[in-house]
């Protein structure tokens, strides 16, 4: 069962890693606009020429 010591420390290391990444993300403003950025992935990458149909909202 000594393996547990290593596993526990490993898992805590992962947690710490998560926290570091999360703090970094928050400090880089990754969390400040949760709704809008996630929507933009739904749009096409290519530049669309603005047409009248394009302005309708859903």
């Amino acid at each position: 069962m000594e393996i547990l010591y290593i596993l526990v420390i490993l898992s805590l290391g992962f947690s710490l890693g998560f926290l570091i990444v999360f703090f970094w993300a928050v400090n880089k403003d990754q969390m400040s606009s949760l709704d809008t950025v996630s929507w933009s992935i739904l749009d096409e990458d290519t530049k669309i020429i603005q047409t009248d149909e394009d302005t309708t909202n859903d």
């Binding site: 805590l12 400090n27 909202n57």
Partner: protein
């Protein structure tokens, strides 16, 4: 509405200048963008502003309704505002001081605290499960050591807000929720620490971590909800005005609203809203004062009169001298008062939480003293501690905030915006519901029936339109759709507005008059006179909204009295009043001035609810215990009414009641559960049946029960 707006919102670079905030490297501008509905709108704006090379950085907030822009070139900002407006949105610059203070930084630090608490609680639970399932002695000690290390960041970093509240509660001798929580956390930690050092049982690091995490989560969710509502509502003190024309050395120039100071000469053009309270310098001004007084027909002011911000100029061009600006104006004060109410409600501590706290502390103390006297210090301490842990008011401390937050979100989903989640509680006291007629039960638009108008010769019709459209008035709006092009309008000389009567003017040498009359059947009409001879009478009509019958029926089934308060004459109101089921018929007030409405509501005391459209009902809505506002002409109606409707759909009125009852039921269930749980557990704990270890298991179980109870009951209407 759109045509009037577009001219008023084109910003000159000088007027934007006042909104810019100088940061270290760049200028910053905050915008409120009207018309953003979804991610696609945001994306459209993003694509366009990205094209401008001068932009340094931008950021959307609050679901895309707020945009912050950074650039080193001040010229960038007017260009961008122009660009956003050209896409069909309306970008409104926000004053830097109106920004909710430090919201971003607070959000960042809170979400970090939450992450730490989550990591701490999650890992500790893993070890605790192992311990409870019977890990051997060596591992148990090892896990306890790990738990101690893991609970420290949760307690000393994440729980800081709780400690602050705890300290303030002690300092100002006021019960708040942080007192028992802080007490439980502190004693729990100290006792666990002592047990840990002595190598005995009774180590509750797991409980401490989980409690901290759950409490912080519920508070975070609530805080986000409130600040989102807050940001949505607050734009400006003077509804619909963002800039003004200042006259300086004979030249008039557009400047930002907040650059106006006392004594400035301000020019206002027809159709614009007055930006300040001031003294009228022109000979005469015809103003639509419905925002302030509720009087829907325009009022004539003379030179030297005090005129108020928020009122709208119906004709000509006037000059006034500014006296009071922004928050000091009458309309600004109204809005400021509503905002203060919002801030205050946020701070309000729950009435019976202090009772609960007292109950827990007293039972713990009583148990402690009793066993100290009867038995030993150790037993007294352990039982008291079991009580504090098992009865930790988490059910209340995050159950109630969760209900508020969920009810707010549920309301928004259904098209209702609550000023704050607490307003729903007032619905219990309501037994009388008062409706405004125009704009609330009817469409509020005056329609001119085409038959008689089209019977006129096209020349006469054009003259009539020219006269009607030389002033903005509810009736004249009905004529708009009969006009082919603005250019056709003929010049009107000697235009006169006769309050309560009508209008007159000379067109191409002919004297034209339009007076309002009432026909024999009680319908409102306007009579048209040419050179003193009556040409024709035009019929006016207003449409009833659909769903009015089911609404009256369901309200009457709820046992409510329904009254109508209308400024219109009796024959117009009576047919609608007769639609109300007889047993629910309250009173029918016709030709009621805003003051009459106010008095009527006041006489009802605490049981009346006012439903209006925000213009002529403001006074009544302000004094009613509960007010519901139709989406309407007043931009800030959201801040003034308790509940505002996103659509003019009458079924939403019924939804308010459904929602309130649902929330009330959930809250009652929660209270019953909490009461039973606490009384039983405290009794068992003081009798010694619940050891602190069992308490530590029961507590999160009860919290989870509360969580699922609330989530399940409030998931949909």
């Amino acid at each position: 509405m759109k045509s009037a707006m577009s001219s008023a919102t084109s910003f000159s670079s000088e007027s934007i200048g006042a909104f810019l905030l100088k940061t270290d490297l760049h200028w910053k501008l905050d915008l409120f963008i009207k018309g953003v509905h979804c991610g696609h709108c945001v994306f459209k704006i993003e694509k366009q502003i990205n094209k401008n090379a001068k932009m340094a950085h931008y950021q959307f907030e609050a679901g895309g309704e707020r945009l912050s822009l950074w650039s080193s070139d001040p010229q960038f900002f007017p260009e961008t505002v122009e660009l956003i407006n050209s896409l069909g949105f309306q970008a409104i610059p926000l004053s830097p001081e109106l920004k909710v203070d430090n919201c971003e930084n607070k959000f960042k630090s809170e979400i970090k605290r939450l992450a730490v608490a989550g990591v701490s609680a999650g890992n500790i639970m893993l070890f605790s499960v192992a311990i409870y399932l019977g890990a051997d002695a060596a591992f148990t000690t090892f896990f306890h050591k790990l738990c101690l290390v893991l609970v420290l960041p949760s307690l000393f970093y994440s729980a800081q807000p709780i400690w602050m509240g705890f300290w303030q509660s002690l300092r100002y001798r006021r019960f708040n929720l942080d007192l028992p929580i802080g007490l439980a956390l502190a004693t729990g930690f100290l006792l666990s620490l002592v047990s840990f050092i002595q190598g005995r049982d009774g180590i509750y690091f797991d409980t401490i971590a989980v409690v901290t995490f759950l409490i912080l989560t519920s508070r975070f969710v609530l805080c986000r909800y409130v600040s989102r509502i807050y940001q949505k509502n607050i734009v400006h003190f003077i509804p619909g005005v963002y800039q003004a024309r200042r006259k300086l050395n004979g030249k008039s120039q557009l400047i930002a609203l907040q650059s106006i100071s006392r004594g400035d000469l301000i020019e206002v053009w027809r159709g614009e809203t007055l930006p300040v309270d001031g003294v009228l310098l022109s000979e005469e001004a015809i103003l639509d004062t419905s925002v302030l007084t509720g009087e829907s027909s325009p009022v004539v002011y003379k030179k030297g009169d005090l005129v108020f911000a928020g009122t709208q100029l119906c004709a000509d061009k006037i000059l006034l001298q500014s006296q009071k600006t922004a928050g000091q104006t009458r309309v600004g004060q109204l809005i400021e008062r509503a905002l203060q109410g919002l801030r205050h409600d946020q701070e309000e501590s729950f009435y019976w939480v202090s009772r609960f706290t007292a109950f827990v502390i007293l039972s713990a103390l009583a148990t402690f003293t009793y066993f100290l006297w009867l038995d030993s210090l150790a037993i007294g301490f352990y039982r008291a501690f079991a009580i504090v842990i098992v009865a930790c008011p988490c059910a209340v401390s995050f159950g109630i905030p969760l209900i508020r937050s969920f009810s707010g979100q549920l309301a928004i989903k259904n098209g209702l915006v609550l000023k704050n989640p607490q307003v729903l509680k007032k619905i219990k006291q309501i037994s009388h519901i008062c409706f405004d007629k125009t704009g609330t039960l009817t469409q509020g638009r005056v329609e001119i029936e085409p038959a008689e108008l089209m019977a006129l010769s096209s020349q006469d019709r054009l003259r009539l339109l020219s006269l009607e459209l030389s002033m903005d008035h509810p009736i004249s709006k009905g004529f708009h759709k009969y006009l082919d092009s603005q250019a056709d309008l003929l010049p009107v000389q000697d235009f006169q507005y006769l309050p309560g009567k009508g209008i007159q003017g000379t067109i191409e040498g002919e004297m034209w008059q339009v007076f309002s009359t009432t026909s024999l059947d009680g319908k409102k009409r306007v009579a048209v006179f040419k050179e003193g001879v009556e040409l024709t009478q035009l019929r006016l009509s207003t449409d009833l909204k659909k769903d009015i019958l089911p609404l009256f029926k369901s309200l009457s089934d709820r046992g409510l009295q329904i009254s109508l308060l209308s400024g219109d004459s009796g024959p117009q109101v009576a047919p609608i009043f007769n639609l109300i089921p007889p047993k629910a018929q309250g009173q029918c007030l016709s030709q009621a001035s805003p003051e009459d409405k106010l008095q009527f509501i006041k006489n009802q005391g605490e049981k009346a609810m006012m439903v209006g459209d925000g213009i002529n009902d403001i006074a009544a809505m302000q004094s009613a215990p509960l007010s519901l506002c139709m989406p309407g002409a007043l931009e800030n109606n959201m801040s003034l009414a308790d509940i505002s409707m996103a659509r003019g759909d009458l079924t939403l009125v019924e939804k308010v009641f459904q929602l309130a009852h649902k929330v009330e039921r959930t809250e009652r269930n929660l209270l019953i559960f909490t009461f039973l749980y606490n009384v039983t557990c405290v009794a068992l704990a003081s009798a010694g049946y619940i050891t602190p270890v069992v308490a530590a298991i029961l507590m999160p179980v009860s919290s989870l029960t509360v969580l699922s109870l609330v989530t399940f009951s409030l998931r949909k209407l």
